[in-house]
Amino acid sequence: MKKYLVFILILLLLGSFVFAQGSGEAKKDKDVTILHLWMGIPAENGPQDVVDAFNREFKDKGIRVEYERYVNDDQGNLKLETNLLSGSEVDVYASYGGLTRVAKRAEAKMALDLTPYLQQDNLVPEDIFGETAIALSRVDGVLYSLPTTLTKTSFLINKTMFDEAGIPVPETWTYDEFRAIAKRLTKGEGLDKVYGMFWNSTQNFYEMQARLSSRTLGGDWMYDPNGRETQLNHPVLVKTLELINNTMNVDGSAPSHVDTVTQKLTMENMFLSGRAAIVVDNFIIRSVKDLEQYPHDFVTAFVPQPVVYEGGDIYTWAQYGDQLSINPKSKNRDAAWEFLKWYATNGVQYMAIGGRIGLANTLDKDSVVGRFFKGVDEIIDIESAKRHFIYNVGDNLTSTTIFTKAPEIQKVMNEECEAIMTGRKTPLQGLSDAKTRADEFLK
């Protein structure tokens, strides 16, 4: 009896093994090349549509794309880089936050030189993506990635609150005008207080400074034009911090830095619950469109950030981003190029649903606009969104091009700004100290 049992068990084991092998074999289609695409965006905010569209279109050519999301933070980027270094599982990937990461990855041989492919297909990238975007994407003259999106920064405002207070939606406004408006929009006390402005200072001070100071100083506002030192004590930067400090600590028209940190206030919970009329950045547009998670019925509009004074050059800080590269260790580099080309010139339109705006001039702008406003045209002000977010016309776009020791300088900036916002230093004092400390890194 026992012997039979053992025999049957062995048979079952062997059988299951054979079957497992068989089914594995059946699933694998010999002629299909599978590409692994790594990006930092949740699949439902666009990438899934991209993958579906590509797989439909390239079914006959035998290429399939599978999506892998990594979180775009320190750990997430480390995970991506470890996978790139070990050589497997990544064919095409996106880098975020300007060129810093692309440059480092190119240096570490984690990104393929795209020039041969561009030549082979007779593509002139400048014609498709614009000269600035391509110039900013080159590392030592070589193109290791293609820029796919353009993100123009702006404030987001609760237009309904502006209308109720009888304040016209501003087009250009100075720091003083902005401060007065923020004050007018502030009402109530305690937990129910509605603030005119929310600066999102938990995130980091560097970002706030960047948004405002680059309006006047351009994308490289942090560095002295000669590039050998910082200019963190520049009068514009001082004025900017004075403005932030005044709204937080003098007028009370913005939550103070301490309140922001200790209560873990976020742009989402301040703006989308109607507790702040203006927020410092438009990257939460993804959440503004997500009515399921953040139900609200007010209208959101895009407005440019205020400037120190009127006149002179006024820039709009923009980031050419979502830089797509090919892993040099990929076994399917040709297929990866097929995908990259398709994505940059066409597929990126599907990302508009998550609020990412494609850069290439080959894109169907109506499709982008259509996707962007799908189901949310009643809660987003269409005209201001087109002007300040989607269309790339009539703006004096500027971008950051110098990144020397940027993480270290940003840490210094955050610490000194924190000291200013908690009243330990005056803006001028704090920024002068920041300059002294940051310059140490550039020596």
């Binding site: 480390l78 880089e81 480092k104 830095h257 301490v258 940190v261 200790t262 955050n414 908690t422």
Partner: protein
Amino acid sequence: MVFSKQLRKDLTGYAFILPNMLGVLLFFILPIIFSLVISFTDWDFTWGIGNWNWVRLENYFQIWKDQWFVRSFINTVVLSIASVTFIILFAIVFATIIDAQCYGSIAIRLAMFMPKISNIVAVSIIWVMMYSPWGPVTQLLKTLGITNPPKFLGSYTWALPAIIFMMIWSGIGYAVMIYSAALQGLPAEVYEAAKIDGAGPIRCFFTLTIHFLSPTTFFLIVTTLISMFQLFAPIQLMTKGGPGSSTSVMVYYIYTSAFSFYKMGYASAMSWILFLLLFLVTLFQWNYQKRWVNY
């Protein structure tokens, strides 16, 4: 080939622990050696393995000129010494009281032990809420008549004490548990003799209990101090080292250097400094124990 009986026995033994040893070797011993090697280089993670310059001991000297490191070092020492002192003091008193005269002592011990088995992430988030301006700690202080209570995690002066307080709260249960176990084994006859000689409970506590518990105290000081030196999660979750660098601790700064600045060589050098520090402190305690620990 003929193996001697002993060798064959040894080899079988090693074969059994081989899977485990491989893990230890790959994920423990090798990284340790690797970190020591790169601590003598200026390696930036993104340069790829092998692309580094040898800088000898430069990292080890540079560290002391780095004010972020010095600040983190001081904070670590303050945090460790303060929390260990209070944990030991409170734990020994609580354990004695619970042991001597307390109804439901098991329930109390269990309740105190809860933070130890709770997830540190959850604990940290709860404490952020506790310390927030609308949280219970601040509200309690207001009810007690303090009109302008500190902003705890947002304050340069109070952020570190707030974290120390939380660490004392979360560490005390474990220490009480260990002390309670030790108290069960104390010789009753000595206490009886003391009582006959006229010693009251307080006298007994100071001359007998503390004396008998000294090996436990020694064990707790060594282990708690080591774990406090390695504190990371609450800092990352609650303050990110801020405001300024008032709550930055060594492990947090090592993490920042390695994964924000990508300076792997520099970060490894700091890790080795941390190791040496812990090693020296433990060695010192080990030698010094002869003076006050009684077995």
